[in-house]
Amino acid sequence: MAALKVVRSGSRLLNGFQSLLNNPRKVTCGVAATVTKHPRWYCVSHLSVQERIERKRKAALSGGGQQRIEAQHRRGKLTARERVELLLDPDSFVEYDMFVEHRCSDFGMEADHNKYPGDSVVTGQGRINGRLVYVFSQDFTVFGGSLSGAHAQKICKIMDQAMMVGAPVIGLNDSGGARIQEGVESLAGYADIFLRNVMASGVIPQISLIMGPCAGGAVYSPALTDFTFMVKDTSYLFITGPDVVKSVTNEDVTQEELGGAKTHTAVSGVAHKAFENDIDALLNLREFFNFLPLSNKDSAPITECHDPSDRLVPGLDTVVPLETTKAYDMLDIIHGIADEREFFEIMPNYAKNIVVGFARMNGRTVGIVGNQPKVASGCLDINSSVKGARFVRFCDAFNIPIITFVDVPGFLPGTAQEYGGIIRHGAKLLFAFAEATVPKITVITRKAYGGAYDVMSSKHLRGDVNYAWPSAEVAVMGAKGAVQIIFRGKENQAEAEAEYVEKFANPFPAAVRGFVDDIIQPSMTRKRICRDLEVLASKKQANPWKKHANIPL
């Protein structure tokens, strides 16, 4: 086997050499006999190897050629290499497998003009703000970025190394799909990547940025990664395209409607955020990367911070309206407490009744989860539970403390929710908060009603520090509903309601039982959280040994 390989590579060397002399696109297959006939060729070829390396490198750098590069630009997209260059620190990219070529010999693919050094993907490692990252960037100019066995092998190689050294992997997806000419080898390639996605999950952060088409089985790699970002107008994600949809379900749908950035960030929840264009996306990805630890063995990064950790936020004292029925924007609170009002929101357009995202507190990355009273009163439903659960699990996997702001009237009632399985999906959020062992700080800003109170990182789910604002109301339900049940049929409902409000619509019932650790002035929230995070930085907590937990999927 090994001998055979040597011969093969030898003959390929020769091919290349002859191509120097003849028309490079019309080379006949060389044989070993030619070499023995002219012993001097060895030293000649030695000289030429340098040149051939240069030629191959040049060819690799120009991908599918000038014409295709221009076509890519005309579509408003950058090339695979331009993207890598923008994403990484200047001169930090170290490329792997530039000389890898596909191995397909069917359908004329073996022809030399069908071979591109590096094939349809650029892989390697580099730095983002000085921190290590592995990157693959699919090259749409080479066979439409389709995935060959070699292409998959290149991706697997960097993923394996990323796991060994503990560094995130960023995939820049721009691929037409499987390399059909390669058949099952292409499918095997996908599976190899999927397996690594799964193995790497929870070990190193994995981020996908969809910058072009990504269809068919290919979509499952981004789906397995921690974050999927998209570029507006130029990227699509779907299992089958509009033509197949038409033939199967007779639905008329455009690419954009079926799998564009808007669909996936607002309707399906497949993608976590969308950006205006390639440059915008890549620059934002650099910013996003700064929030993440390199692996599950590293702590969340701490950056230099100019915002005083003991800053009071007077605006928070008036943010919660006096009337309990009136909405306010949870983002006002989050911006108020975060370093420099900076908040990288995840899924800002999906399940807007819960807000999740990253911020820093005194330079330290934190994950923030908050009910959004502005949307559907901040109730928990299927989508918001799943959105929250996935985010909490990411934070827990990667040592990112979780800060939870609670203003939740309960779970959303109704047949749609019950039939959709709100019980199962709501349990995910409960599960995620309960199993998390990272520092957990909770602030009840107003309502914390019913089971939703328990779910939202309550003291009972091992919350480390739980605060209530003076406006907090922790109870089984709101006054009106409660009175209707407790005093059913009684005449003086208004009086009963007043009594209930007096007893329960305040933080005391929870505070006297120690279910909240303190009642704090809202303006002090930032100061308190920063102090707690410092204390909790050395928190050690472990769950019982298990092969893995069985989250209600």
């Binding site: 290590l132 205006e276 390639d278 440059i279 620059l283 007077p314 009002r341």
Partner: protein, 672 residues
């Protein structure tokens, strides 16, 4: 301060105004009186400073601050012996004063008959004439309908001014140059008068073109003594509402000042005025002055008079209300230095010099650390600016021994004023106070229209200012980039990677793209910009809203309004905010491939330019409208705005009804 003279009878004073919360508090404390206040649930700032506070109900104002019953009840609850009504709301309401008197509560202000006499524009002018005060020619008449308005206008001769009899300031005031405009003015003014004052009587008089608005502050007691406390020039106005005021005026000579002061005092005496009041005059270019009206209350702009005279007007009002005689004689009233007041509004100055904007003050920081700066406001960080009140954020007053010094301080104060979350008029204020015409004192009530005939467009950068701004943005970008590479206690950052010393960047401002190189040494950034060398140095605190920078030796305070990962930087520089984008050389080169996103065609859709309520919709689907034709009327902050069609077209659909509340940017009407 005559605190020891306050008798126990005036221990509690109820202040029903917001903007001078702090001021009222100081006064009340100085007078050993308890300070009580009223509030509505939406805003609570001045409440904090009060000894006690009573809720008078939620906005809109006719249910809260204009609700006499609620305020009378508040007075009863707090046991107040006196009520200071502030300005606006109930300050000039004779009915309120009468009802207070009936409850045995002192109204801190003039007697009801003076309010009545001066509150009525027609009667006030008759009295003024009798008191030998110069009045505007051609003045007369209560107006019953549009045709009568046209007839009166014809008798007086155009141009004429139409306004509400009951209203103060410029509210409900319109100028007509012909019969058609008179009819329109009548319609608008009477509507506005009705909604603001509950009294739709109107007044038509000769309009004096290009005048200055100069007013005399008077102070009178209940013993027949009256003083004039010099003038305030309030000529800088938009839509007849004051924007920038100063005291004294650059225009008056001592003789004119004295003549105006004496006429003002004689008018005050003629109505047995007691308390502080203001006599407004129009002054033409030949220093002829005409009586306009008398405001029988404290004016918004009273602080500048306090600055130059050293008198505390609120305290004087309380003294007078208590029945004490004035402490000063006319000869004791000085003009010390110069004071300027800018009215900081939650308004978009790019839309007709200021259309109301609303929002939550996400960040708010007053420039009170600068010496000789006074800020009277009723809000704080976190306050909501709602559509229910006047959009005034604060009165910013600066004082100097000379006008130049006061102006210099105003410039500095405006640069250091942090307001985020609502659009504000600081760009306009800063442009006004630095405009050569204003600086030289060459102003009139037409100032804004004359200086900005095309509307206000923000500060126009000179070449050197442009370089300064570009260099500042680039230096800020580099500082932020460098910081994002600094991780604390992270051992996994490459040790071989050196901190970048030289940066090749590209910066974009107003479609102009410039290639720049930056090199940093310590806190100084040498920026090479189109062959010009600009040195920027700053100890950047990237968390601070205010960035003090030294650019080529000039010290400035720049505000960073926002900074995005994709290189967008919004800077407030010389008052105006500029959108810049800084990219690496590589990103800038690749930027040309990025697709242009097509913005929505706005000519066929009409969106609300501000939050407010729809008063009237004049079209329905299927109607054909001409360009400029009125489509609907939006009322916001007690002001009616006519929305017109941007092109001649058929109405496709109407998305609002009279009575609806709309937000900024809400779709009102679609055209085909």
């Amino acid at each position: 301060m005559a605190s020891h003279r306050v008798t126990p009878a005036l221990q509690r004073v109820l202040f029903t105004w917001q903007h001078v919360a702090w001021k009222s508090r100081c006064c009340a404390v100085a007078s050993h009186a308890k300070y009580s206040t009223v509030y509505d649930p939406a805003e609570k700032v001045h409440v904090k400073m009060a000894d006690e506070a009573v809720c008078v109900g939620p906005a809109p104002t006719n249910k809260s601050y204009l609700n006499m019953d609620a305020i009378l009840e508040a007075a009863r609850q707090t046991g107040a012996q006196a009520v200071h009504p502030g300005y606006g709301f109930l300050s000039e309401n004779k009915e309120f004063a009468r009802r207070l008197a009936a409850h045995g509560v002192t109204f801190i202000g003039p007697d009801t008959h003076a309010i009545q006499a001066m509150g009525d524009k027609i009667e006030s002018k008759l009295i003024a004439k009798k008191a030998k005060v110069n009045t505007i020619p051609g003045f007369d008449g209560v107006v019953k309908d549009a045709e009568e308005a046209v007839r009166i206008a014809g008798e007086i001769g155009y141009p004429v001014m139409i306004k509400a009899s009951a209203g103060g300031g410029g509210k409900g005031m319109r100028i007509a140059w012909n019969d058609e405009e008179t009819r329109e003015g009548f319609r608008f003014s009477s509507q506005e008068a009705a909604s603001s004052f509950g009294d739709d009587r109107l007044l038509i008089e000769k309009f004096i073109d290009n005048p200055r608005h100069i007013e005399i502050q008077v102070l009178a007691d209940k013993h027949g003594n009256a003083l004039w406390l010099n003038e305030r020039e309030c000529s800088i106005q938009r839509r007849n509402q004051k924007v920038v005021e100063e005291a004294p005026s650059t225009f008056l000579d001592p003789e004119t000042r004295c003549a105006m002061g004496e006429q003002a005092v004689s008018l005050a005496k003629a109505v047995q005025y007691s308390s502080a009041g203001t006599v407004e005059f129009l002054v033409d270019s030949k220093k002829n002055f005409y009586f306009l009206e008398m405001n029988t209350r404290l004016q918004v702009e009273h602080p500048i008079t306090e600055c130059i005279t050293g008198l505390d007007l609120v305290q004087q009002m309380i003294r007078v209300a208590k029945g004490y005689p004035l402490q000063h004689r006319q000869a004791d009233i000085p003009i010390n230095g110069w004071a300027i007041e800018s009215r900081v509004y939650a308004e978009d100055p790019y839309k007709s010099f200021g259309l109301p904007s609303i929002g939550r003050l996400s960040q708010y920081q007053e420039p009170v650390n600068i010496p000789a700066v006074r800020v009277d406001s009723g809000i704080q960080e976190g306050s909501d600016i709602s559509i229910y009140y006047d959009p005034m954020i604060s009165k910013l007053v600066t004082y100097g021994s000379t006008r130049a010094e006061a102006l210099q301080r105003m410039e500095e104060a405006l640069d250091n004023y942090v307001i985020r979350g609502v659009t504000h008029n600081i760009p306009l204020l800063r442009e006004i106070i630095t405009h050569p015409r204003f600086v030289s004192g060459d102003i009139s009530t037409k100032f804004l229209q004359e200086v900005y005939p095309e509307g206000f467009k923000g500060h126009q950068l000179s070449d050197s200012e442009r370089w300064e701004l570009l260099a500042t943005a680039v230096a800020l970008f580099v500082a932020a980039q460098l910081r994002s590479q600094r991780f604390l206690g992270n051992l996994r950052v490459s040790s071989s990677q050196q901190e970048q010393r030289r940066w090749e960047l590209s910066v974009e401002l107003e479609k102009g793209v410039h290639a720049v190189t930056v090199s940093r040494s310590g806190s100084t950034y040498a920026v090479d910009l189109d062959g010009k060398r600009v040195d920027v140095s700053s100890e950047w605190n990237l968390a601070s809203a205010l960035l003090p920078v030294t650019v080529n030796g000039t010290q400035r305070t720049v505000q960073c309004l926002s900074r995005s990962a994709s290189g967008e930087i919004d800077l407030q520089y010389l008052g105006t905010s500029y959108k810049l984008r800084v990219l690496s050389k590589l990103a800038a080169a690749l930027n040309k491939h990025m697709p242009e996103k097509v913005p929505e065609d706005t000519s066929s859709i009409l969106r609300s330019p501000m939050p407010g309520s729809v008063v009237a919709v004049s079209v329905k689907a299927g109607d054909t409208v001409a360009e400029g034709q009125e489509i609907c009327v939006i009322e916001a902050m007690k002001m009616q705005n006519s929305m017109t069609a941007a092109k001649t077209a058929k109405v496709k659909s109407v998305h609002c009804n009279a009575g609806d509340t709309v937000g900024e940017g809400d779709l009102l009407v679609e055209l085909e």
